[in-house]
């Protein structure tokens, strides 16, 4: 077995990345960047899984990452399709423009 980094480090990194992605999600108005922030968060979550799997020496962590990856891929494709529609309806990719549900 190769000596690996302690999982705590991995989890800490995952936390940091997740927090950054979370902040970006709330702060940005561009739809693409919002989607990118979501990707960051998914990635961080996957990192946490992998770290946990490495800690206990089980493959389940990586398997979970695999599934998260799949979900991320599906979500991105739909999200970008939505972005295309969004742009068609509202002319810009500004999320704040989508306020038809006001009131």
């Amino acid at each position: 077995m190769i000596a690996v980094v302690s999982a705590g480090h991995g989890l800490a990194l995952a936390a940091i990345l997740f927090a950054i992605g979370f902040a970006g999600l709330l702060a940005r108005r561009n739809l693409i960047v919002v989607l990118a922030s979501i990707e960051i968060m998914l990635n961080a979550a996957g990192l946490a899984f992998v770290a946990a799997g490495a800690r206990w020496g089980q493959a389940d962590g990586q398997v979970m990452f695999f599934f998260i990856l799949t979900v991320a891929a599906a979500e991105v494709s739909l999200g970008l399709a939505l972005a295309i529609s969004f742009r068609r309806y509202l002319r810009r990719l500004d999320v704040d423009r989508a306020e038809r549900m006001k009131g």
């Binding site: 077995m1 190769i2 000596a3 690996v4 980094v5 302690s6 999982a7 705590g8 480090h9 991995g10 800490a12 990194l13 936390a15 940091i16 990345l17 927090a19 979370f22 902040a23 709330l26 702060a27 940005r28 561009n30 693409i32 990118a36 990707e39 960051i40 990635n43 996957g46 990192l47 770290a51 946990a52 799997g53 490495a54 020496g57 089980q58 493959a59 990586q62 398997v63 695999f66 599934f67 990856l69 799949t70 979900v71 991320a72 891929a73 599906a74 991105v76 494709s77 739909l78 970008l80 399709a81 939505l82 972005a83 295309i84 529609s85 309806y89 002319r91 810009r92 990719l93 423009r97």
Partner: protein
């Protein structure tokens, strides 16, 4: 190995920060690719070479390519991304910090310290097609659904004509 981890971690964090702060859309996406690659390296240092490869191939490869193609197809230029005033970061930053603190405390107070073991790809494959084989099938269903759904959502055929609806800007010359 630890040194490699720290380097990759720092790169990842910096790149991610740059992703969320850049106003130029393409730059942000490129930084994202960098971040994802760095995370792949981190995976390797964690003894998970299989997912490291997956990360590079699928995440930083396919998914990011989707993003880039979307940017190209939508003909977005840097002027599409807005300038975020510093004032807008206050709230999200506070929330992010709180979240970070929570998670850090949670991590620190758990039993997750201690060295781990690397898990080779073969074991991953056995687990994946062993107990989790149903998940694999479902994943393929999911991808199919996403495929069909994306095709329909992005369909141009039943696009409504609403040039003067509220929330729309003035119709630009590249009206689709």
């Amino acid at each position: 190995m630890t040194f490699l981890f720290y380097v990759a971690a720092i790169v990842a964090v910096v790149a991610t920060l740059l992703v969320v702060t850049r106003s130029n859309l393409v730059h942000a996406l490129l930084y994202l690719i960098v971040s994802l690659t760095a995370v792949a390296v981190v995976f390797y240092t964690l003894g998970a070479p299989f997912v490291a490869a997956l990360e590079v191939i699928i995440y930083a490869g396919a998914i990011m390519m989707l993003f880039v193609f979307a940017v190209i197809l939508l003909d977005l230029r840097s002027d599409e991304a807005e300038r975020v005033p510093a004032r807008a970061w206050i709230g999200p930053a506070i929330l992010g910090v709180i979240l970070l603190v929570e998670l850090t405390v949670a991590v620190a107070s758990s039993h997750s310290g201690g060295p781990g073991t690397s898990v080779p790809a073969q074991r991953v494959g056995e687990t994946l097609f062993g107990p989790y084989v149903i998940g694999v099938e479902l994943a393929s269903m999911l991808l199919l659904a996403a495929l069909v759904g994306a095709r329909h959502v992005a369909d141009r055929r039943d696009e409504p004509e609403e040039p003067d609806a509220p929330g729309n800007g003035p119709p630009d010359e590249a009206a689709s």
